[in-house]
């Protein structure tokens, strides 16, 4: 089972990378966040293939490397849909495929405003061994990750997650605030969490020359995220929180590289999380699929 999952996961990743290298690309202007979302959606018809890693320290147990692949598709200019495939390696234990997520983001307003809302809906089907820490909710704490993979894989989690994303862009700065509510579809209470982010390109004007290392291609910032308890015990007690500088490098070739060292802010948090990611935007994915099936576009 484990070897099958590992092979399937490696197959998916290899296929994604080869595919991304082959297809035409669009230059991206991606935000640097790993956890927080801003109000910008994927361009319609484009597909972004993303790979992310989280290297986490674990007190009293094995450090881990969690990873996920995202397929992010712009269905329309107001709706982006994403599929996630998650996995993790716990050092000294094993590598496992931990589940999938299906995420949707909707932009309800027609025009830009000072604060721009985006509605988020996600369904998760994952095991208890999932460690990607894509969001922190409820009373998630470091000690939850001490369970061995073999045991944690036995727990299946079906969860829905709702977010209200409020994002502003002012003088080149993006400021975003995400509030989340998640419900395990088994008999568990609603859990809550938050993510905050601020970022800005290193230069606001574009250079008149083509360049890879121009400051306008780099976006730096910081994000903070954590849990807010659940319906029965809302608040900060027994919750974990993180602060993480973030940096994205949008290459003219269509690749985006991101890196973020994250630091736990209390004793319930992992001491250190090192995240990095690589993504590539495929231009006109919808047209290619259409042609494949005989469309004219």
């Amino acid at each position: 089972m484990v070897s099958f999952s590992r092979r399937a996961l490696l197959g998916c990743l290899s296929f994604s990378v080869l595919w991304a290298l082959y297809l035409p690309v669009a230059a991206a202007q991606e935000n640097p966040y790993f956890v927080a979302y801003d109000h910008y959606l994927e361009e319609p018809g484009n597909l972004e293939i993303e790979y992310f890693s989280t290297l986490g320290t674990q007190r009293g147990g094995n450090n881990f490397h969690a990873f996920w692949t995202e397929l992010e598709y712009g269905a329309t200019a107001w709706w982006t849909t994403e599929l996630y495939l998650d996995g993790q390696t716990s050092f000294g234990d094993s590598t496992v495929f931990t589940g999938f997520r299906w995420e949707n983001r909707f932009r309800p307003l027609k025009l830009e405003h000072f604060i721009n809302p985006v509605l988020y809906f996600e369904y998760e089907n994952k095991s208890g061994a999932d460690k990607i820490l894509k969001e922190i909710e409820g009373h998630d704490v470091e000690s939850d990750f001490l369970v061995a993979n073999r045991q944690a894989q036995k727990e299946r989690i079906h969860e829905v997650e709702l977010k209200l994303i409020l994002s502003s862009t002012f003088k080149g700065w993006n400021i975003t605030e995400n509030t989340l509510a998640a419900k395990n579809l088994s008999n568990s209470p609603w859990e809550f969490g938050y993510a905050l982010g601020a970022s800005r390109p290193l230069a606001l004007e574009a250079s008149a020359k083509r360049c890879t290392l121009c400051p306008q291609n780099f976006i730096g910032g910081v994000e903070m995220y954590g849990g807010l308890g659940d319906r029965h015990s809302f608040g900060l007690h027994d919750t974990s929180h993180y602060l993480a500088p973030v940096l994205a490098w949008n290459l003219p070739s269509g690749w985006t590289l991101r890196i973020s060292p994250g630091f736990g802010l209390n004793d319930n948090s992992h001491g250190f999380l090192l995240r990095w990611g690589v993504s590539r935007e495929i231009a006109g994915f919808a047209s290619m699929v259409s042609r494949l099936f005989g469309g004219q576009q």
Binding site: Y40, F100, K110, E205, S207, A208, F285
Partner: protein, 156 residues
């Protein structure tokens, strides 16, 4: 095993939705016209710009480097839909038409900032404000004097 099967099922659904959406676009009436048979109605959105936005001046109007910078930005973010020379494509309208070239820089900036999200034009406020003005400067440089003749900005 169940999780893998579910993941594959979701992947297949994802692909199917993409196909349906893409087929819908290709088999139905085109949403926008390419340059040769362009539809003036598609440019009506330019009239939605508020008075205050229309009257904004381009801070890069007299900066010759802005055209070169705007050209690079256009190639990176706009050419995919509007065509390499902004001539239009089945995905997005031509920008080398009188409706666009006679619009004020402020109007084009407003449209770039807000997009037309119900008609597939994304919001481009994720590009910093100076870059949006550089793009406007480049787009306005494409038309030539004949197309710009009716520009309100050009009139006394």
């Amino acid at each position: 095993m169940k999780a893998m099967a579910a993941a594959l099922a979701v992947s297949a659904s994802f692909l199917a939705v993409s196909v349906v959406l893409a087929q819908g676009r290709s088999s139905g009436k085109p949403l926008v016209a390419a340059a040769p048979g362009y539809d003036p109605a598609i440019y009506a959105e330019l009239q939605e710009a508020p008075e205050k936005a229309r009257n904004r001046a381009n801070p890069f109007e007299n900066d010759p480097r802005a055209v070169a910078a705007g050209a690079i930005l256009f190639e990176q973010h706009c050419a995919e839909c509007h065509g390499k020379s902004a001539e239009g494509s089945p995905k997005a309208p031509s920008l080398v038409v009188r409706e666009v070239q006679s619009a004020t820089p402020g109007t084009l900036f407003w449209l770039l900032t807000n997009g037309v999200v119900r008609k597939k034009m994304p919001v481009w406020s994720k590009l910093p404000e100076p870059q949006r003005w550089q793009l406007v400067r480049y787009i306005k440089s494409l038309g030539g004097p004949a197309l710009r003749a009716e520009s309100p900005a050009a009139q006394p």
